[in-house]
């Protein structure tokens, strides 16, 4: 019986076109994605995290990632297939036939389920076939490098199916099958898919919490987190070689959810009965039916009624229908379910407002809005997609369409009312976000509700969702098949995600697009609001056209084929529709034209391909001048006029250029941003322009009399930067209404600048350029003649007069000489009294100022000033404390501070960094000003303090010590700033509080190396790779200080600073730096320097067994085993086992409550020699031990840091 039904199901499904359509969809999606990854469409896209250029497109990692990701989108297909398998008997009313035939419940349900399951699996196999096909075809494209594909291996495909696709199918299938079977309602099936997404999202929100990885992994029913945790640290070599393993994460997760699936199926089996009506759908029949003809009047007499037909009356009908449709949605249990799921999701996501280093920010309205709108958008799109279908099909689903269609209502009424109702729903959803946001803020004890910001922001979002409503309705009307309509919408959402990769960048042909409207507390919506609204007007007019089309094509009557509808539509076109058509077309064209004028005529429209070509052309044309001797900037004087309201600025002043070479220089090459209007750019002595390449801003001047060695020449300049209209997306956020932040990049550079060359090898190859090393070799003496900040200056003197509007304060490096107001402008004269790097910035905003002072041991004061946005007072004290503690530590341990002042200047959160200029630290509003640090919570990181300490450290490690333009130089700036900040932090908060931070750094390093594009290098050869110089740097330097002693290390650093600070070319390199480190390191630990700085070293330490016995004297004897391994990795991540005979912390810990929080406290911690393999260890401690093992604070780099310690089994 089972087998018959199973086979029938297979045969039935194999005859359905849907089966093949789904298969084809999977096949095509996979082909497209693989083509994208392989680079058929241009630059390869990155899918699933593997970003190395050496990653093969058919590596097991890439295959499992693509198949996993695409199979998530398959949820809809799963729901359609599995939800439908019993439901269709109810839909077609064949259930009575089946239920009365002598079949067993198992035969019926089992046959249907497994039949559908096999079909679903077949459909999903489209991905594997698509992959194999694409792997065979993609290499034929010339843009795909020959080594992008490796040989075929069946197991690469089998494993993701075994571990991801099949378990997911079983779990999802069980849900959808059960829902469809028991509720006999297809919408319920969709709710199921929403709930899965919610669970998935909730697990995702928890991922932020680093500590409960197993829980996160288990909570995620799709296994995505399990896959992530299993593969996150895989290097390129591993990605190419390893296939998805049966890791703990995966095995437990898969078993759990397959189990849940089976439990669901048994529940379904148990609940299911062969009854005509669903269990919960017993309709209460009206028993009493009047005896016929008894009370009925004999004569049919109906009151005469008046019928009125006019536009006004039709409008009344439209409004009434709108209300009806609206109520229909709002009251439907499914809407409430989706909404409830969404709110749950909102509140869980919203509890993690603004996480950074796992530390919350204050729930300021803009942050709350950000996080809530982002997570809720998915639910809104689901609601739009589903309810557009429900609305369009409402009458037909209730089989009332013929009644409705014969009613004397104008054609526009039904469509418009449904659309309006759907749009009304969006208003409700926005209100839900508002309420949840205010609730979240209140729950967190934050009561500064900026309701007007809520209204503005949500109002602008609302426009976008309204436009989506129109599109969804059009799709439903056009395809005239609810499920196909849903599917097309989902494809549309996906296409939107990938459109950039496919080369569709211009917003003019991307429906509902806008150039964005980032919000900043400092600048509000700033100048973004105008273009945003213009785009919305443009797309709004287009949406009206879409709505008009949908209305004309609306199915009325039984004529549903598209040809007939077009014919009918043509007949229907009346004057009013022509008027709407004309008016909205006019608005569409005019606004579109205006946008085009701005993006393509006022500015040259360049998409990313154009920009790449330009870079390539620059290199091809001017690279030949790279080695030409050029003078260097030695003095800069600028009158900088900022016009924030007009978004213009002007530089007027001069450079002094000095010939520091030993040959005469006859021509000077300049590179200047091509947006600058050049009022003046001329030498103070006779010279003629030999070349002016406007496209690239390249100038060559020939001096009438060559500049002899040691001689100087003055370059006068007067440059104007205007903001004309706007560009497409990322238009200038430097000069804004409030919070201007521009830097020296906008001024002329001397000589050929290799920084503008294409750096990515794929892009270089595409543009006919050979691969290029990221940086010059560490010992390249020629390259060391420049600092890594620029090749046109060493140390300069700097003076500027900055002017701005009267209500703003303008700032630049240097000390304020004078401030005055003239002609409605406010002027600030800054002058630097010592030499600085050629690296400066100008800022202007309506600032509040907080002032303080630090007195050095020599009695000289340093002024501390924080310039901040009103309302952002939360962390000013932390920052000031950060400055003071930093100055304490750095002056004591490195060298004196070269300036008399430290200024922190807030700038809008369009970028999230802080940057150190001489005596001046611009600091983004979004990385610390609104942080909400709980000093009592050991898990919180005081990052305003830390970032301040890091930036202040740069005044030494970059502004005193600056490496040459070679590999490894950021070791002496970024790594050392990290180290300095860590030490200041440790001193302030104690070593225990550092663990969270270091764990984060380790994790980021390991993830970073997995995402390396080219090659990982040892720390001392770092090529400006952030995961190395920041993340690995933190871990390594902290450990080094621990191993050789902080004082000893600092003494070495001090010596080094004294040696190289403010030096002239050639500039220092990491080899020189390492000699100081080596000198401070005892012979027994020299291996550490090799491991940490000069190679890539990874430990795999694990405590395997730990027991303790209580001694007579009350102490505990702890016996434990540690399994240790050490690996060396090459630049691609290939590992070899290394000899291990190292000092490692051996520790026994207990847990104690400190300040109300549980913390691990060591009872015993000593460095002991550990060898490779098993180490038996024995320690006696006074208190009852909880854990024992090695390296509890993760000083050594280890991919499984959590297994270093093992719970102690106490035997008494």
């Amino acid at each position: 019986m089972f087998f018959n039904i199973f086979l029938f199901e297979l045969k039935y499904r194999l005859k359905r076109p849907a089966t093949y359509i789904y298969f084809a969809l999977f096949f095509l999606m996979t082909v497209l994605v693989v083509f994208g990854v392989a680079g058929v469409f241009g630059n390869p896209i990155i899918m699933g995290g593997g970003s190395s250029t050496s990653l093969k497109s058919n590596s097991p990692y890439q295959i499992s990632m693509i198949i996993t990701i695409l199979s998530w989108f398959g949820i809809l297909v799963t729901s359609a297939i599995m939800g439908n398998s019993v439901y269709r008997d109810f839909e077609h009313k064949t259930h009575a036939l089946f239920f009365t035939s002598p079949i067993s419940k198992w035969g019926y349900l089992g046959g249907r389920f497994w039949g559908s399951f096999v079909i679903a699996l077949l459909v999903f196999s489209g991905m594997a076939f698509g992959y194999v096909f694409a792997s065979a075809v993609a290499p034929l494209f010339p843009s795909v490098p020959a080594d992008k594909f490796g040989p075929f291996n069946l197991m690469f495909y089998v494993m993701p199916y075994l571990l991801v696709v099949i378990p997911n199918l079983l779990f999802n299938g069980a849900i959808f099958f059960t829902l469809g079977t028991l509720t006999r309602n297809m919408l319920a099936v969709y709710i199921g898919s929403v709930l899965i997404l919610v669970l998935y999202g909730v697990a995702g929100a928890f991922t932020e919490e680093l500590d409960n990885e197993m829980l996160v992994s288990l909570l995620d029913p799709m296994g995505a987190s399990a896959v992530y945790f299993t593969t996150r640290y895989w290097t390129a070599a591993e990605q190419n070689a390893l296939f998805l393993p049966f890791s703990d994460f995966l095995v437990y997760n898969r078993l759990l959810w397959m189990g849940v699936g089976l439990v669901l199926l048994s529940f379904c089996f148990w609940r299911f009965g062969f009854s005509f009506f669903g269990a919960e759908r017993k309709v209460r029949r009206i028993k009493k039916d009047n005896a016929l003809g008894v009370t009925v009047p004999q004569k049919l007499a109906l009151p005469k009624v008046g019928q009125e037909f006019s536009f006004a009356k039709s409008f009344g009908q439209y409004w009434k229908l709108t209300k009806l449709e609206f109520k229909g949605i709002v009251r439907s249990v499914y809407f409430i379910a989706i909404l409830a799921a969404g709110v749950l999701f909102l509140l869980s996501a919203g509890s993690q407002v603004g996480k950074m280093y796992d530390t919350n920010t204050f729930p300021v309205t803009s942050e709350v809005l950000n996080i809530l709108s982002g997570t809720f958008a998915l639910f809104i799109l689901i609601i739009i997609t589903f309810y557009s279908g429900e609305l369009v099909w409402r009458e037909r689903d209730a089989r009332m369409n013929q009644l409705y269609d014969a009613l004397p209502i104008p054609n526009w009424v039904p469509f418009s009312s449904k659309l309006t109702a759907l749009m009304g729903i969006q208003v409700i959803l926005m209100a839900v976000i508002l309420v949840c946001g205010v609730l979240l803020q209140a729950l967190k004890g934050y009561f500064n509700f900026e309701i007007s910001l809520y209204l503005k922001d949500l109002g602008m979002q609302l426009i976008g969702f309204w436009l989506m409503c129109v599109l969804a309705m059009l799709v439903q009307v056009l395809v005239n098949n609810k499920y196909l309509g849903h599917f097309i919408m989902v494809l549309y959402y996906l296409a939107n995600i990938f459109k950039g990769q496919l080369g569709f960048e211009h917003l003019l042909y991307s429906y509902n697009s806008s150039p964005g409207r980032p919000y900043s507390d400092m600048n509000g919506f700033g100048h973004f609001i105008g273009p945003f609204l213009l785009y919305k007007v443009y797309w709004g007019a287009f949406a009206v056209l879409l709505a008009l089309a949908s209305n004309l094509l609306w199915v009325r009557g039984t004529e549903a084929n598209i040809k007939g509808r077009f014919k009918l539509a043509a007949l229907q076109v009346k004057r009013s529709s022509l008027f709407v058509l004309g008016a909205s077309s006019a608005v569409f064209l005019v606004s579109g034209g205006f946008i085009f004028y701005n993006t393509n005529i006022l500015h040259e429209y360049q998409d990313s391909d154009d920009l790449e070509k330009l870079s390539a052309k620059y290199e091809k044309t001017y690279k030949k001048y790279e080695d030409l001797p050029q003078p260097r900037i030695v003095d800069v004087y600028l009158e900088t006029d900022l016009y924030p309201k007009e978004r213009e600025f002007r530089f007027k002043g001069y450079y002094w250029l000095k010939n520091k070479t030993n040959v005469a220089i006859d021509s000077v090459h300049l590179l200047l941003d091509d947006n600058a209007v050049i009022n003046k750019l001329e030498f103070a002595r006779p010279a003629k322009t030999v070349l002016y390449d406007k496209e690239m801003g390249y100038h060559i001047f020939q001096l009438a009399q060559p500049l002899s060695p040691g001689d100087s020449v003055k370059l006068n300049l007067d440059l104007l930067y205007q903001t004309k209209g706007y560009k497409r997306r990322s238009y200038n956020t430097g000069i804004v209404y409030n919070g201007t932040f521009i830097n020296s990049q906008l001024l002329p550079h001397i000589g050929y600048q290799d920084g503008f060359e294409l750096s990515d090898d794929d892009s270089r190859r595409k543009n006919g350029l050979p691969p290029k090393e990221r940086m010059a070799k560490v010992d390249d003496l020629k390259a060391r003649h420049n600092t890594y900040l620029g090749n046109d200056a060493d140390w300069i003197t700097f003076e500027t007069v900055v002017s701005t509007v009267p209500d703003q304060i303008a700032l630049a490096p240097g000390y304020l000489q004078k401030e005055w107001t003239k002609d409605g402008r406010r002027y600030f004269h800054y002058k630097m009294d010592s030499k600085i790097l050629n690296f400066y910035a100008f800022l202007s905003a309506d600032y509040e100022v907080k002032k303080d002072k630090w007195i050095g041991t020599d009695g000289k004061p340093v002024a501390i000033e924080v310039y901040y946005q009103k309302g952002h007072e939360y962390n000013l004290d932390r920052m000031i404390k950060g400055v003071k503690k930093s100055l304490d530590y750095y002056t004591a341990n490195f060298s004196p501070y070269q300036h008399r002042q430290v200024r922190i200047l807030e700038f809008p959160g369009y970028a999230t960094f802080a940057q150190s200029f001489p005596n001046t630290i611009p600091f983004s509003e979004s990385i610390g000003f609104i942080a909400d640090v709980d000093d009592k919570d050991p898990e919180d990181v005081d990052y305003p303090f830390y970032v301040t300490a890091h930036e202040v450290a740069h005044q030494w490690w970059a502004h005193q010590v600056i490496g040459g333009d070679v590999q490894g130089s950021t070791l002496m700036s970024e790594t050392m700033s990290q180290y300095a900040a860590l030490m200041v932090m440790k001193k302030e908060y104690g070593p225990e509080r550092m663990r969270k931070f270091l764990k984060h750094e380790m994790d980021q390093y390991l993830i970073g190396r997995a995402g390396e594009r080219k090659k990982e290098l040892p720390l001392y050869l770092v090529e400006n790779q952030q995961y190395i110089h920041y993340r690995k740097g933190s871990v390594v330097m902290y450990a080094l200080a621990d191993y050789i002693g902080e004082d000893k290390l600092n003494a070495a650093l001090k010596e080094y600073v004294q040696q190289v600070a403010f030096q002239q070319a050639p500039f220092t390199n990491s080899i020189e730096f390492m000699t100081y480190i080596r000198k401070a390191t005892p012979d027994s630990l020299q291996y550490l320097v090799d491991d940490m700085f000069e190679s890539i070293t990874l430990y795999e330490n694990k405590a395997t067994e730990a027991t303790a016995a209580k001694q007579k004297d009350g102490s505990y004897k702890v016996t434990f085993t540690v399994d240790a391994k050490k690996f060396k990795a090459d630049s691609l991540g290939n590992e070899t086992l290394a000899k291990l005979h190292d000092y490692v912390d051996v520790a026994v810990m207990t847990r104690k409550k400190i300040d109300g929080h549980w913390q691990d406290v060591p009872l015993y911690m000593q460095k002991q020699k550990i060898k490779a393999g098993l180490n038996k260890l024995e320690v006696t401690v006074k208190e009852k031990p909880q854990k024992a093992g090695v390296d509890p604070f993760n000083k050594l780099i280890d991919r499984n840091p959590d297994d270093n310690m093992k719970d102690v089994e106490v035997k008494s």
């Binding site: 009925v296 019928q307 009125e308 014969a406 004397p408």
Partner: protein
């Protein structure tokens, strides 16, 4: 006022020809459209009710061109489709009121009165507050007629309204229809001959999209006078009789098979003449016997 249908033809995209050059003139009063399942009745009804386009031909209601002036047609139309549903969670009164608004009855007092009157007439008044989901088939059908009567229509189209009703319900329904049919056009499509003979002043028989006969039922019966013969036979003999005679119908009666045969003269001695009724007219017409003598056969179902 008359409804005039001229040269109406319609072929569905799947190739089925639902209407073949239909010409009909339908006067005020009840008009019965008789035909087997799939004859094209519903297609014709939907076309009149503005729900479907025709490939050619025209329909005029008085001066009104139904195809070109759909809105105007809908204002005077009451339509009860063969199959329809209701919103299960809405009460009869609410839904009827809702339809009344859509029919252009904007005066709320009038609307209230007419809704109440219609619910009275259709005997739903007592259950008017109950949700339609709990209605029986007959109650639902009566609700359907109530909505078709909203707004004093000039033409009412009811498609197979009595299918699924019990005899008492059907009776009651007929009374209602015949009263309505006194002053306006009521088109009733059915495959039940008695419905037409009971109710209709005029009728048409339609099969395979073609109008085979139009006129008054009594007159049609008259014309068949003396041409219908009856015989009791054994079941096994049916095939032979069908081969030899124009058998227009056969049915079981008390265990035996009675056949009706259409013939100008008594076929043989075993046949007795019977007084024809509309059923004989119907079967004789759709079997094609009245045109050229031939055997009846099972017609392929025409899905429309």
């Amino acid at each position: 006022m008359e409804l005039v249908i001229q040269n109406l033809s319609k072929t569905y995209p799947n190739g089925v020809q639902a209407l073949k050059n239909v010409n009909l003139t339908i006067p005020t009063g009840m008009f019965g459209l008789l035909g087997p399942n799939g004859a094209g009745k519903s297609s014709l009804m939907r076309t009149i009710a503005t729900l479907q386009e025709a490939d050619s031909g025209s329909i005029r209601l008085g001066d009104l061109d139904v195809f070109k002036e759909k809105d105007e047609m809908r204002r005077v139309l009451g339509y009860l489709p063969q199959e329809f549903g209701v919103y299960p969670k809405v009460s009869a009164e609410e839904l009827l009121d809702h339809f009344a608004v859509l029919k252009g009855i904007h005066n709320s007092k009038e609307r209230k009165e007419t809704v109440a009157a219609l619910l009275q007439q259709t005997n739903l008044y007592e259950v008017r507050k109950k949700n339609l989901g709990g209605y029986s088939g007959g109650m639902k059908q009566r609700f359907g007629i109530a909505q078709a009567l909203l707004g004093n229509p000039k033409i009412i189209i009811v498609d197979e309204p009595t299918a699924g009703l019990d005899p008492a319900e059907r009776n009651r329904f007929h009374n209602l229809l015949s009263e309505i049919g006194e002053n306006i056009i009521v088109i009733l499509s059915t495959h039940i001959v008695d419905d037409v003979s009971d109710l209709c002043r005029n009728m048409a028989i339609i099969n395979k999209g073609e109008v085979l006969l139009t006129g008054e039922p009594l007159q049609a019966i008259d014309e068949m006078q003396g041409q219908i013969w009856r015989k009791f036979i054994k079941k096994e003999e049916l095939a032979q009789h069908q081969a030899e005679h124009t058998v227009i119908s056969s049915r079981l009666y008390a265990g035996k098979t009675i056949i009706h045969v259409y013939a100008q003269d008594r076929p043989d001695i075993a046949f007795e003449q019977v007084q024809p009724d509309l059923e004989d007219v119907y079967f004789a017409t759709i079997s094609g016997a009245t045109k050229k003598p031939q055997r009846t056969q099972a017609e392929p179902e025409v899905m429309a």
